[in-house]
Amino acid sequence: MMAYALRRLAMTAMVVLVLLTLLAALVHVLPGDPVTLMLGPQASGDLSRLARTEMDLDSPVHLQVWHFIAGAAQGDLGRDFLTRVPVASLIAQALPHTLILAVSSLVLAVAVAIPLGVVSAARPGSLLDRAVGTVSVGVISIPSYVVGLSLLLVFAVWLGWLPALGAGALRSPIDYVAHLLLPMCALALIWAGYLARIVRASMLEVLDSNYIRAARAFGVHDRRILYQLSLRNAIVPVVALLGVALGDLMGSAIFVEVIFTRNGLGTLLYNAIAERNFPVVRGAVVVIAVLFVVANLAADLANRLLDPRVRADQAG
């Protein structure tokens, strides 16, 4: 187990490395210049040079990556070029809100998807099954910001049931939750659709297996067969996907945070982009990337833990 975890850690580190290199390389390859975009074409030569040095744009790609990593290891993610505030502290302020949003959305998605998937698999071809199937396909393909805007339109603007702006203060939990509800539902909806399909497919496969047939042959109750004996096996591939889900949620979270004007990593990134604030953009993207690969790693390890065959192989 330990060896596997270390190996996966190394893999994920490499993935982050690849991403960083890709980023730096793309900046070099594609037309356009970050400094000019940030400071404007009229900027003085001195200012431009200062900016280029501070953002390390003149070093070759691999050195850029190396310098950044070295700095990051010490907690230095650069500084906001204009306000001189350390990027690390900006991120530290914004991160909790994003994490709360992502995790709560995932929890909601899972809580909705599992019963739907199980019931669909228990009655394949039924009206419920086909309805869930169609709705989930629909929900998956519609862009997250469309879902978010629609929810905003209906529940905040039109019906006025829930607030439209901001994250609310963490100090007052009810207020915070009220602000969290709509964005959380927007994100959860898409993943609930996808997860329900995965659960359904996985359940169908398990329900077809010999051991479920044997359980039926010995008269085990139907409900137990579904929710305990089958689900326990069907859930295994789903767990692996949760890591991917969390990563993808981050992408959609940007839109949702902007739409609901929640301060979080997404809004930070968005504003930094609007200002062409390269250090903040880089820092935010890297943090998001790291979070993302860590989430994937955690899901992958959890998956192995859950699979009794693998776990017991280690134990002997």
Binding site: V15, L26, L30, P143, Y145, W191, A245, G247, G251, I273
Partner: protein, 303 residues
């Protein structure tokens, strides 16, 4: 090597067969309600794209400030935006914009993915391993964030947007191609030995390409809505085209800023985007069933 010719006296069926197959395939797709809906949407989109200037009741750039932020009326069927421009005309105009970015992006992704998959599958060894790692890294990472970052640094020109979206879709195409090459490589290994050296690469091409047409077609249909969604999303966040271009994302973001004053821009654009993405996705799903293709459809691969 000369192309084999049909024996004398044999009917020249070859030219008509692909057309007949396509027609039969389309009929099968249309038989399911989802597939029919998808075909309808795609057809409507194509019609609007081609006939946009004719169909739009107004010039999409025509400003009419006294009538700004109105709801549907007899003059402006869907209402107006914050500058009094006709929403219907703007949305119609947006079709071309969306397709002009999405289609090249997906095709570029297809082209690059094809090459990467062919090389990785054929050459194998470390080239293959590197390719797989890079593709995995790209595919699993949220495309939007990747696109955002690159565009933030380099500006949102059409080329940049197309390239960045294409990159997000490359891994999907590469994976399909690579799998096909690997299976053909195993099958024709013996043939390849018998062939006179130069035949191997050509054999792989001749065997691989027919096998991957179906999955690539399905993937294209599934990726197009993703490309449209990403492009509009980027425009919504402010990265993209300049006004007065009626990009759907821009219409959305303008409407969003004034959502309390008038819900109509956001409402219609959301409905339109939902229809378009649903239509393509249903079509892709139905195509997949008809062509009997197995792919993994994680939303992470095209968001």
């Amino acid at each position: 090597m000369s192309v084999s010719t049909a024996p004398p006296g044999a009917p020249s069926r070859r030219r008509s067969v692909p057309g007949a197959k396509v027609a039969a395939g389309l009929r099968r797709v249309a038989r399911s309600p989802a597939g029919a809906f998808g075909l309808l949407v795609v057809a409507a989109l194509l019609v609007v794209a081609i006939l946009a200037p004719v169909l739009a009741p107004h010039d999409y750039a025509a400003i009419d400030v006294p009538r700004r932020l109105e709801g549907p009326s007899s003059d402006y069927w869907l209402g107006t935006d914050h500058l009094g421009r006709d929403l219907l005309s703007r949305l119609i105009g947006g079709v071309r914009i969306a397709l002009r970015i999405a289609v090249p992006a997906v095709l570029l992704g297809l082209a690059i993915g094809l090459v990467v998959g062919l090389v990785a599958g054929y050459v194998g060894r470390w080239v293959d391993t590197v390719a797989v790692v890079v593709m995995d890294a790209i595919q699993s990472f949220p495309a939007v964030i990747l696109a955002l970052t690159v565009l933030a640094l380099l500006g949102g020109s059409a080329t940049n947007i197309i390239v960045v979206i294409a990159i997000a879709f490359v891994p999907g195409f590469a994976r399909v191609t690579r799998a096909a090459v690997q299976s053909i490589k195993q099958n024709t290994y013996i043939d390849a030995e018998r062939n006179l050296g130069a035949g191997t690469a050509r054999i792989i091409l001749r065997h691989v390409l027919p096998n991957i047409v179906a999955p690539l077609l399905v993937l294209t249909a599934m990726d197009l809505p993703g490309a449209i969604a990403i492009e509009s999303g980027l425009a919504f966040l402010g990265l993209g085209v300049q006004p007065p271009t009626p990009d759907w994302g821009v219409i959305l973001s303008d409407g969003f800023e004034r959502i309390s004053l008038s819900p109509w821009p956001v409402l219609w654009t959301c409905l339109l985007l939902a229809f378009v993405t649903l239509g393509f996705t249903f079509l892709g799903e139905r195509l997949r069933d008809v062509l009997d293709v197995r792919t993994d459809d994680s939303p992470a691969s095209s968001r």
